[in-house]
Amino acid sequence: MSHTATEPAEGPSKVTLGEQGGAGAIESFDVTLRVRRYLPESSEESYWDEWKITMYGTDRVLDALHKVKWDLDGTLSFRRSCAHGVCGSDAMRINGRNRLACKTLLKDLDLSKPILVEPIKGLPVEKDLIVDMDPFFQSYREIMPFLINKGPEPTKERLQSAEDRERFDDTTKCILCAACTSSCPVFWTDGQYFGPAAIVNAHRFIFDSRDDAGDLRLEILNDKEGVWRCRTTFNCTEACPRGIQVTKAIAEVKQAVLAGSF
C-alpha cells in the first residue's frame, strides 16, 4: 500500500442526499385489512378476519396480504404467482369489485374504512381466497382455444396483415384470471353459462384470419348457455384488469352467430 502515500486520499462525497427520494420519503399509513376466511378443516362457516397493519404508499393489496401471511398469520391462503399483473392468479373481490390484488394500490382505496377482501364469486371456495377454477377452465377448454387450420402445414410462419391482426387484438390480452366470469350475475345464478372469459377467448380465434374453425366455435356458443345468456350488464368489462372490452367482444360473437344463421 505504498502508492497511497503519493495520491491524496479521496475526500468525502460531495453529493448530498436529501431526505426527498429516499426510502424515508415514502408515505406510510395504517390500514385495516378485513379478509373473508374459510378454513374447511376447522369449520364449515366462513367468517371475517381483521388485521391492522402499517403499509407504504407504494404497496398494493397483495403486499398487505403478504405482510399478514409472512408476519402475522401464516394460515391465510391466497393464490399469486408473478405478482405483476400478468399471470392472472390473484383475482379477488376487493371492496366489492373484482380486481387483481397485485394491481390495486392501497393508496387508491378508501383507507378510512377497512379494506374488504373476498374470494371471487360463483366458483366453489376451497380455502380462504382460493377458489376451484376447474369449472372456469372447463368452459375455456370447450371453446377450443387453439389454432385450427385445415390447410397444409406451412414451412414458415403463417403471415397475417396488420389489419387482420388488429381485428382480434383486444381479446388476445386475456390472462384467464376469471375476474370477468366471476363478476357476471348470470354466471352467479347457476354456473351453467359459458361466461365472458370463454367467449372472449373464442372471439380471439373466431376473428383470426388464420383460423378455420370459427363456425365450430360459433356453434358451440349458440348453446342455450352460450352467448344468448349475456344480459349486457357490463360487469365483465368493468372487472377486466386488462381493459378488454368484454361485452363488446360478446356482442361481436352474437352478431357472428346471427350472420352465420341467416
Binding site: 376447474d134 372447463q138 377448454r141 354456473g191 348453446d223 342455450k224 344468448w228 345468456r229
Partner: protein, 161 residues
C-alpha cells in the same frame, strides 16, 4: 408400459368438478338465438305501436276526456286499428313473456320450481292472448235486447247505423 396404451392423458383433476357446473349436451337448436332476435325486433316495433297508440288515444281530439266505450267501439270498427291493436297485443305479450321466462330461468334455483313458474306464465299468456284477440274481433258495441231495440248504454253512433 401400460401408461402408453392410453392415447389421451386425463385432464388434471378430471371428474372432480361440481356437477352443477356441467352443462347438459342436449341442443335446443336456434331457439335462444331466435328469442334474442325477437326481443330486439319486437322491442323496436312496440315503441312505434305503443307511442302512436298513446298519442291517438290521449292527445288527438278530446284527448283523455274522449275515452269511453264509444271511443273504443269506434276505433275497432276500423280494420286498421283492429290490426294495430292485435299486433300490439301479440307483440307485447310475447315480448313480456319471453322477458319473464328469462328471469325465471336465471333466478329459479330448483328445476321443479322453474318448470312450474314457466307453466303458470305460459298459461296466463295463452289466456290473455286468446281473450284479447277474441275481444278485438268479436267486439259488438251496439247491443240489442231480445226485441231488437238498442240498449240504453249503447254509444251514440249506433242510432245512425
Amino acid at each position: 408400459m401400460s401408461a402408453t396404451a392410453d392415447s389421451t392423458i386425463a385432464a388434471p383433476r378430471t371428474g372432480r368438478i361440481d356437477p352443477k357446473y356441467t352443462r347438459d349436451r342436449t341442443k335446443t337448436g336456434n331457439f335462444e338465438m331466435l328469442a334474442w332476435l325477437f326481443m330486439r325486433l319486437s322491442g323496436i316495433v312496440l315503441v312505434v305501436l305503443i307511442f302512436v297508440h298513446l298519442y291517438s288515444n290521449l292527445m288527438v281530439g278530446d284527448g283523455i276526456n274522449g275515452l269511453d266505450f264509444g271511443f273504443v267501439a269506434g276505433k275497432w270498427a276500423d280494420p286498421f286499428w283492429q290490426f294495430w291493436d292485435l299486433a300490439m297485443l301479440w307483440l307485447a305479450m310475447l315480448h313480456g313473456t319471453n322477458g319473464v321466462r328469462t328471469i325465471i330461468n336465471d333466478y329459479a334455483e330448483r328445476d321443479g320450481v322453474r318448470f312450474w313458474l314457466k307453466m303458470v306464465l305460459y298459461a296466463a299468456t295463452t289466456v290473455i292472448i286468446v281473450l284479447g284477440t277474441l275481444v278485438i274481433f268479436t267486439f259488438e258495441p251496439c247491443l240489442t235486447d231480445a226485441a231488437g231495440n238498442l240498449l240504453q248504454s249503447s254509444p251514440a253512433f249506433c242510432e245512425t247505423l
